[in-house]
């Protein structure tokens, strides 16, 4: 069993693009606005425009469009299910019946609704995958810490959360390697992982889990000691080597997306064209 090939964490694709260089807070904000927009838009023209801007953003981020399609793979089954359910059971009897399969009728209305709902799902997945492709887990953690800072007063430990997250992300590759080493060692001693019923397979994990836990928490003790020796005292008054700072590109991204969302909301609820 090879585990180390998963070492590249998550879906981040490092590139040197404007989108990658955006402040993580900007990207979180813009992605949130995109989600609002996706649920507000109610016609195909709107989704067409949105799809075109997403394609533009992928090009700008230097992420090949194939990756947008790849992000859809895990939801393929859901997508199909959604389409079929809406096609046959939406109760939309109006419109011209197109096909008749026994008791099932496909009307033109139902077809357009099924296509619309499926498109919504696709756009949502593609929009969020653009975020994960262009934001490294560390940048995401930094952004999270800053965004949680105002909630400190009501007891949300933003700095601590970010620190734990950084420790986890830093040690995932190390512990993956460790797991692989332990598994090989136990296999050399005759351990079997892939045989027997569920309970037997689960119990077979014990000779892996215990050494792994021992080694992981020994490392934890060492790290805690090292941090203490360097006088780590939590987030209060801590300085950082790289401060997050908004740049001109962030301003542009905010203005464009807030403006586009506002125009859309206005046209939807004030009845503007």
């Amino acid at each position: 069993m090879e585990l180390t090939r998963y070492v590249s964490i998550g879906q981040y694709l490092p590139r040197d693009s404007v989108v990658h260089r955006l402040d993580p807070r900007t990207k979180i904000g813009v992605t949130t606005l995109l989600m609002v927009v996706i649920f507000v838009i109610a016609d195909f023209t709107g989704y067409g425009l949105l799809a075109a801007s997403l394609v533009g953003l992928f090009l700008l981020a230097q992420i090949p469009l194939g990756y947008a399609a790849r992000g859809l793979r895990p939801i393929l089954f859901l997508l199909l299910l959604t389409f079929v359910l809406n096609l046959f059971f939406s109760g939309l009897r109006e419109g011209t019946p197109l096909v008749r399969l026994g008791p099932l009728v496909i009307t033109s209305e139902a077809l357009s609704r099924a296509a619309f709902i499926s498109l919504r799902l696709v756009l949502l997945v593609v929009a969020t995958s653009l975020f994960t492709y262009t934001t490294s887990p560390m940048a995401l953690t930094d952004g999270m810490e800053r965004l949680l800072r105002p909630f400190r007063r009501i007891g949300v430990p933003g700095h601590e959360l970010a620190m734990m997250m950084s420790i986890a992300l830093r040690f995932i590759p190390t512990l993956l390697e460790e797991t692989e080493r332990i598994m090989k060692a136990q296999m050399a001693r005759g351990a079997e992982f892939q045989r027997g019923n569920l309970l037997r397979r689960a119990r077979a994990m014990l000779p892996i889990l215990v050494p792994l836990f021992v080694s992981a928490f020994r490392r934890a003790d060492e790290l805690a000691l090292a941090m203490e020796a360097r006088a780590y005292r939590g987030g209060e008054g801590r300085t950082r080597m790289k401060e997050l700072a908004f740049a001109a590109r962030d301003a542009v991204a905010w203005i464009v997306s807030v403006f586009a969302t506002a125009v859309l909301l206005a046209s939807r609820w004030l009845g503007l064209p």
Binding site: I9, P74, I75, T82, L85, F89, M165, A202, R203, L206
Partner: protein
């Protein structure tokens, strides 16, 4: 931040990393998606039983976030919150039952199942036409992998906790 707090912080970080590592080892794959992992929930329960419910909740929420970073599955904003930070966070509830770990793990597992269940209903409410019955489908689908996963977690957590207590007897105050 005193020594005890720092230790808890670092241990939670490592537990979250362990969850990510262990969920890469799939013991059993279910035909309809969803899989049973090699006790990937054990680190959360270990932290919860060692440091209490609050630490368990923190470990769970972060494990959910890391899980999302590793394998994002995003079909609805509410679904993401429920399926990742909330579902995993609720596992930490086990820490409020430090005296009876088995009950704690069952309650935590049940709470996580409820989060996935509601998220399934939300998904259907958003994407399926009215008149379909999402509750049963969501219960069957989520129950199919949660039930064995929780059973495995009970067995493995008890064994691991017992082994760890022998090797690492220092109990937090």
């Amino acid at each position: 931040m005193n020594r005890q707090d720092l230790r808890r912080l670092v241990e939670i970080g490592f537990a979250v990393a362990l969850v990510a590592v262990l969920s890469n080892i799939r013991v059993y794959k279910l035909p309809q998606g969803g899989s049973i992992t090699a006790g990937s929930l054990v680190p959360i329960f270990y932290i919860a039983l060692r440091w209490g419910g609050k630490a368990g909740l923190l470990a769970g929420v972060l494990a959910g976030a890391v899980n999302y970073i590793l394998e994002p599955f995003f079909v609805h904003p509410v679904q993401v919150l429920l399926d990742y930070p909330v579902a995993f966070g609720l596992l930490g509830v086990a820490g409020f039952f430090q005296r009876s770990p088995v009950i704690g793990i069952i309650v935590g597992g049940l709470a996580r199942f409820l989060a996935h269940f509601v998220s399934g209903v939300v998904f259907f409410a958003a994407y399926a036409p009215e008149g379909t019955s999402p509750a049963i489908y969501s219960a069957v689908y989520n129950g199919s992998y949660m039930l064995p996963e929780v059973l495995i977690s009970i067995v493995l957590t008890l064994l691991v906790v017992r082994a760890m207590e022998r090797i690492r007897p220092v109990q937090p105050a």
